[in-house]
Amino acid sequence: MNIPFFIDSAMLGLQYAMLALGVFITFRILNIPDLTVEGSFTFGIAVSGILTANGHPFLGLLLAVLAGAAAGIVTGFLQTTCGIHPILAGILTMSGLYTVNITVLGGPNVNLLDCDKFFTFAVNLFPYAYRTVVKGVLILLICALAVFLLSLFFKTAFGLSIRATGNNEDMVRASSINTTKTKITAIAIANGLVALSGGIVSQYQGFSDINSGSGMIVIGLASVIIGEVIFGRRSVTIGIISAVVGSVVYYLIIALALSANIFSSNALKLLSAVIVGITLAFPTFKTKIAEYQMRRHALKTRSR
């Protein structure tokens, strides 16, 4: 077994964990599938990439978060104030972002291999440690911090109103909570995280590419769903942790499939889509099967 390959995959999972957290917030907490993700992930890549190329890796990550959040605010505005269907709102932002992203990046891709990244300082700080270990510990710390802050946030009064908005919007609207505000904030936070993920991924990879965002929504959903299979759907805090774990497990599964030569890497997107499709269809099929059995049972007893 190729151990370094699996360690790399687990680390990849941690880099994409912020993406899973963003998808968890919109898909599970707000109960809205948000396609902005595809664009905001690349937005993060572009912003972080161009700033890293110019010697500002930290500023790059910070601005990536803000850029993603701005994209989220646009989608939120389209959904709430303009009353556009959530899926369409996300598609509009995503589509518009392509132009923004390619403008920011100044071309289809930028090479970052020789630039300082946000982890360079840590690698220099521990010159005798393995590079991979330092990078791994750093990304682990970032994930832990994100999980910690998000769990705290969703336990505040405002965080609770966001959760209630996703759970029973009618009720929240009839209480004194402004659902426009809760929705836009949540979508902004989610896309800020997604863009952060993009920024981190591009710095770890050492290049920024305009097409890296495609299929990200499915990967995010797959991670969230895998996390739920492992932990079950319980409290928000567990949900947040399970999104991160789900992301790591997703990339480990992919690594396993690749190393066993079951699939070529070209098949990954199809594989992910199938996994997500089956999992989302599962509850419906369960009721259908139950109904089918009920009908068969009824017909049998009647014919007797």
């Binding site: 609770l160 109103s161 959760r163 209630a164 029973n168 609207r173 009839a174 004194s176």
Partner: protein
């Protein structure tokens, strides 16, 4: 307290389906009034509540609450002063949140900073004492998801949520209609107890004419978007269900028609 002047609402205005749901409504409530609202199906009772609470704007008329003009105020702004409970117990609470989180949602708005902890130990003690007044054993189930409770329990919790911070106006839209008779009776007596205790100005739609006459201090009847009967004091005290039906027949020239309406004394 509540002053409604010339309020009109027409759905699908200017189309063949034009539906004048409220027509030139005038209504004034005094502080502490408990008004029961009756009327046949589609009379406009819920529409009146929706108009007051701001679910939509009306094409003409004004609504004043405590002297403040709220005619064009946003729904969530009005909600600071107006609480509502609906017929469907699923509407008033968030099913996947726990009992304490649901209560906190109503409590926090007026009492907390946005980034304060949503549920503190102190809150829990307060919620527990509130829930124990319901006498349903819910004080020991604060961490239970509210979706797991029965309709009656959810409606009782909604009642607590709506009155925890005393609203200027409480709107109850057939809030016991989906419950079994025993539970309905219990929720109804809780309602009148809380309303009396906190002296909340209340409007309650009910299809039970007997409780419409028994509860509160005033009864109004809607028909085709108009208030056709306004019963208070002497006249109301001397009226029973049969008397009210007779009055209706004389006024509208037909029998009161509401498939869910309980027309007899139970």
């Amino acid at each position: 307290m509540l002053e409604i002047r010339h309020l009109s609402k027409t759905f699908f205005k200017g189309t063949p389906n034009e539906n004048p749901a409220l027509q030139d409504i005038d209504l004034t409530l005094q502080k502490g009034d408990f008004v029961t609202v009756i009327g046949s199906n589609g009379a406009g009772k819920s529409t009146l509540f929706n108009a007051i609470a701001g679910s939509f704007l009306c094409e003409s008329g004004t609504i004043l609450l405590d002297g403040e003009d709220i005619t064009y105020q946003k729904e969530h702004k009005r909600a600071r002063n107006i609480s509502r409970i609906f017929q469907n117990p699923m509407v008033g609470t968030a099913p996947d949140l726990t009992i304490e989180e649901n209560l906190a949602l109503s409590f926090n708005g007026a009492n907390k900073h946005a980034f304060a902890r949503a549920v503190t130990k102190k809150d829990i003690a307060y919620f527990r004492s509130l829930l124990s007044t319901l006498d349903m054993g819910l004080e020991d189930r604060l961490k239970t998801k509210i979706g797991l409770l029965s309709g009656g329990q959810r409606q009782a919790v909604s009642l607590l949520m709506c009155t925890m911070t005393v609203p200027k106006l409480l709107l109850l839209d057939e809030h016991t209609a989906a419950l079994d008779p025993v539970t309905a009776e219990k929720v109804l007596s809780l309602t009148s107890q809380i309303v009396k205790e906190k002296q909340i100005t209340t409007m309650m739609i009910t299809h039970n004419i007997q409780s419409a006459l028994a509860l509160g201090n005033r009864t109004i009847m809607l028909e085709h978007g108009k208030i056709v009967l306004d019963l208070k004091e002497e006249q109301r005290r001397n009226l029973d269900v049969a008397g009210l039906l007779k009055l209706y027949r004389e006024l509208c020239g037909k029998e009161l028609d509401n498939d869910r309406m309980l027309l007899t004394n139970e």
